[in-house]
């Protein structure tokens, strides 16, 4: 298990991505899978950066674990901000015409569709969001 603690701002996203990519490369993760994981990091960490401590700032922990049979990576995002379950949001209507289309909720929806498991819990004053991706 490896983890990184960073400031919960969007400027930290490249650092978190590089940290996770380093672990994925050691597992010889296919490029497409890696890009999907990087996209999920962008969606989830930007949510934390925008909402967890707003208007203050705080820190966030990102933990990477590898499980076997099947080989998978489990990434956990932890913050001490306001309780917020991004998964509770209703899925967006992806059949709307361009004029009716908004972008709200699309990021989380993309994460749900591309990861093998996504879960959220609020425990001991922490938002704990976990994604799992088979490699």
């Amino acid at each position: 298990m490896k983890e990184i603690v960073v400031e919960a701002t969007i400027e930290s996203i490249p650092k978190v991505t590089a940290f996770v990519d380093e672990q994925l490369e050691q597992l010889e993760c296919p490029m497409k899978t890696q890009m999907q994981v990087d996209m999920a990091i962008d969606e989830l960490f930007s949510n934390i950066a925008y909402y967890a401590y707003n208007p203050e700032t705080g820190s966030a922990t990102v933990r990477v674990e590898v499980t076997e049979n099947p080989l998978a990576v489990v990434i956990t995002f932890i913050d001490n901000g306001v309780p917020y379950d991004p998964l509770a949001k209703e899925d967006p209507d992806i059949t709307l015409s361009i004029e009716e289309r908004g972008i709200g909720g699309l990021g989380i929806y993309m994460v749900k569709k591309t990861m093998d498991d996504v879960s959220y819990e609020y425990k001991d004053g922490q938002n704990i969001l976990r994604i799992k991706k088979n490699i």
Binding site: I13, K32, M39, I98, R101, L106, M110
Partner: protein, 99 residues
């Protein structure tokens, strides 16, 4: 992200390289805001060297498509597998013109 632009005869081509995400989408938004004048009839986004796209990038594509619907057309070219999946999953495949 690197944006390479080329304009000729009312056709603006923006070639994107790198990642179109929370941190880089504002760069594309700014570029399009500056370059997408009324004389642009065709906007081509060449994604050959774009690695991935997140919803922040989709937001800019949606706004650009809406703008181009009023003055011409927009075409997405050379999107990789991961990006095509994103277009598919989000239904963007039906609202964008993808070659």
């Amino acid at each position: 992200m690197t944006i390479t632009k080329n304009t000729e005869n009312g056709m603006l081509t923006l070639a994107l390289e790198g990642r179109l995400d929370t941190n880089t989408a504002p760069e594309l938004e700014k570029e399009i805001g500056e370059d997408l004048t009324v004389d642009v009839q065709t906007l081509i986004l060449d994604l050959k060297d774009l690695e991935y796209i997140s919803s922040a990038g989709l937001r800019v594509l949606l706004a650009s498509q809406k703008k181009m619907n009023k003055q011409g057309n927009m075409v997405i070219k050379n999107a990789n597998d991961m990006i095509m999946d994103v277009f598919q999953v989000t239904g963007f495949i039906d609202i964008l013109t993808i070659e």
